[in-house]
Symmetry: C2
Subunit: 268 residues, 2 copies
């Protein structure tokens, strides 16, 4: 392949902007909403159309690349390996916000090569905020470079976590999460994991925690977070899989260590 | 007084935009942060300067008007009555966001006449979103009129509530709040009561609930909410005071009734 990563990044950003424009246009019309198996897991026509848009562009332009998307529009079905170049895409992260708010949702595009994150783009469509990074070249919010993150003590930290997880009886992480929420300064919940992880990279949050995310939720975020010195792992401290779902904690490095060792890292 | 309310509204909006520009400029410099008695209750130099800006403008332009602001810069001190015209202002709602994120904070300006809300302005400075209303003239987000709100069943509602209140041992409302959070579709927490109440008016949230707010937090919001058919009260269903702090639940009318009667309206 003759294209350099900076050219692929330019193309990926242009497609993301175009997809965002299409979504804005679609929002002027009523949305068809279908419930998935879980009523909280809404999927819209726009969601599928957006993934299809990326899938076709990628197949035309980079026929050798693999594709993994939340909506599963790829003909190949499930991704079995990370060989070669893989695009991992969530067409609309924060679907409930999309349906209820028509706001606070993002397109998330991660490009990996032989398992290594090369490009990450998280585009908050309605706020016109694009968080983006290319491996080794720093992370940006629109045209402004994001600074390497500075640590805050845990008791001064503001973390992204969904308050619902503090009261769900089935949630095995309820007690450690409650203890953590009591000890930090405050919590936020924006309803889009991709935006919340981008906020960690941009120093708007000190950490973001989720009891379950999938590769398309965090593929782009991992590239961006890495460029500003943030880390990510499962609750037990393991590297996140790009092929399977699981728990996620992203944070500044010292805070990440404390959250894992003092709260979330126990065996369940 | 010869000025009409639409002229006062124009002036209030122009001042709010000007105050927002000053805040954006100040954010380019380091912020002086002083802790109030409670470490979570941060106040910045910018906060005070912004309130001072409004206070001076109002005293010059409308010498007969009263002034109530969070930072207490008014010479008169505490407001004892709502006689005549009263400006109730929170110069920066969401101070912790302002300090930590430099994002997601708002200027809140309410103008009341003989205790009746005439003008409400909530300006999300960094997102350039101004929610505004004049009594009887509808509510707007920038230039777009907000529609009268449509109800959603409680189990489909997305509500703004701080997850911290679900785990604080001292919080007497912990159990009813937990029950409510379990029963609704999802919760959000943006860290600015004014923005979250504006989101209720704009149908981005179905309800916003707080265990403690002050008049400057909700003075502007009440005017905006009223124009789209939303209601607000204390947890026990009483009209909110413009002179004292207390619990707050704002929502679409049917949802408001259910939240009070089924969850929060018990005697504590």
């Amino acid at each position: 392949m003759s294209l350099h990563w900076n050219e692929i990044e330019k193309i990926a950003k242009a497609w993301t902007i175009e997809a965002g424009e299409n979504i804005k246009k679609a929002l002027e019309n009523p949305i068809e909403v279908k419930a998935k198996s879980n009523p909280d897991d809404l999927v819209t026509q726009v969601d599928k159309e957006t993934e299809q848009f990326f899938y076709q562009k990628i197949k035309e332009t980079f026929p050798g690349h693999q594709f993994l998307g939340e909506e599963g529009v790829a003909e190949e079905g499930k991704l079995n390996s990370l060989d070669g170049t893989v695009w991992i895409i969530d067409p609309i992260d924060g679907t409930m916000n999309f349906v209820h708010q028509r706001y606070n949702f993002a397109i998330s595009v991660g490009v990996y090569h032989e398992g290594v994150g090369m490009i990450g783009i998280i585009y908050d469509v309605m706020s016109n905020e694009m968080f983006h990074a290319r491996k080794g070249e720093g992370a940006f919010l629109n045209d402004d470079e994001l600074l390497p993150v500075k640590e805050r003590p845990l008791h001064e930290a503001v973390i992204g976590v969904n308050g619902r997880w503090l009261v769900e009886e089935r949630n095995v992480y309820q007690n450690p999460l409650r203890a953590l929420v009591r000890d930090v300064r405050s919590i936020r919940s924006y309803g889009s994991a991709a935006i919340e992880m981008a906020y960690v990279a941009a120093d708007r949050l000190d950490s973001y925690i989720s009891v379950k995310l999938s590769p398309w939720d965090y593929a782009a975020a991992l590239v961006i977070l890495n460029e500003v010195g943030c880390v990510a792992s499962s609750f037990s401290g393991e590297t996140l899989s790009l092929l399977e779902s699981g728990t996620v904690v992203t944070a500044k490095p010292q805070l990440h260590k404390e959250v894992i060792s003092l709260y979330l890292g126990e065996e369940f």
